[in-house]
Symmetry: C3
Subunit: 125 residues, 3 copies
């Protein structure tokens, strides 16, 4: 049940955006072993005037930069997070073909009691 | 001062979206005892191509699924969170009439020192 | 590498929105000492029907209220956060000229291992 909010500049074709979803889902399956069809994701598209990026930390980003904010269980280990970052960059690099410099990921930890995936229940508490 | 970001597929009438706000506000009043007029919420509408959902965890979701991400004080108890989940699903079920399967809620905890609700002050620190 | 998502009512001119970015960047430089060009921000604009605000906590907000959600390292101190809140309100007050009552800020803490600012690496872990 990771919940993913993706932010990028407007104008990419639908196939490109679907490929982002597909690659993120596959990365979560492989690095976090999430169950099948555990896909809860949105893509927000921004005009240039509403999207700001910089080149801090020695990374030459472009207007194709994608901000990926992923909220997960706070039980995920540092090793799992590292594997997730690596796999996301690899898979987005293949499909839809995003440069590794343009993959920006932030993880937010949330306790198991902080999730209700339907029916008003706290399924994991 | 919970801050709520709601994500759903585009196309619902305004009354439907207002009902989501109203029900979430009422759920917070009842389950979290937030003060009167403590309403800080946005609704983002997504085309099908920018919104992905799955059926993981044995829940038969539909295109009406709503992702509700709520940032609250990290002092909220597991019992309060359970009550909030239950009340949100009940109230959204009545108004605007969302199936319990389509109510997906994630809580993010933030310390009291992490909030400034105006004037540049940390009112709760 | 703070990641900032800004939410406000639609309709402000581009210069107004650029001024929000500029002031937030400057506030982060001064209060958090972030490196040069550490700018990762989005602005989402909402119609009135998709944006709800209230007057809780004795603050007379207007339709110009701005919700600023900032995810930062969980190593930031309460003093840094206070300085950030103060500086954000001061600078937004000057440029683009937002009333201090309308500046609503929430900080989300994320561990150093939770960030990948490019190349699939966990640069700060």
């Amino acid at each position: 049940m990771p919940l993913i909010h993706i932010s990028l500049r407007a104008g990419k074709p639908e196939a490109y955006r679907q490929a982002i979803f597909d690659s993120l889902y596959r990365a979560m399956r492989e690095a976090l072993s999430v169950p099948e069809d555990d896909q809860f994701m949105t893509i927000s598209e921004y005009d240039a005037a509403n999207f700001r990026y910089g080149n801090a930390y020695g990374v030459a980003r472009s207007a194709d930069v994608v901000y990926i904010q992923i909220t997960v269980f706070n039980t995920r280990t540092a090793e799992q997070k590292k594997a997730l970052f690596r796999r996301i960059a690899e898979l987005l690099g293949k499909k839809p073909g995003i440069r590794a410099e343009d993959v920006f990921v932030n993880i937010v930890d949330a306790a198991k009691e902080n999730w209700s995936v339907g029916h008003g229940l706290a399924q994991f508490a």
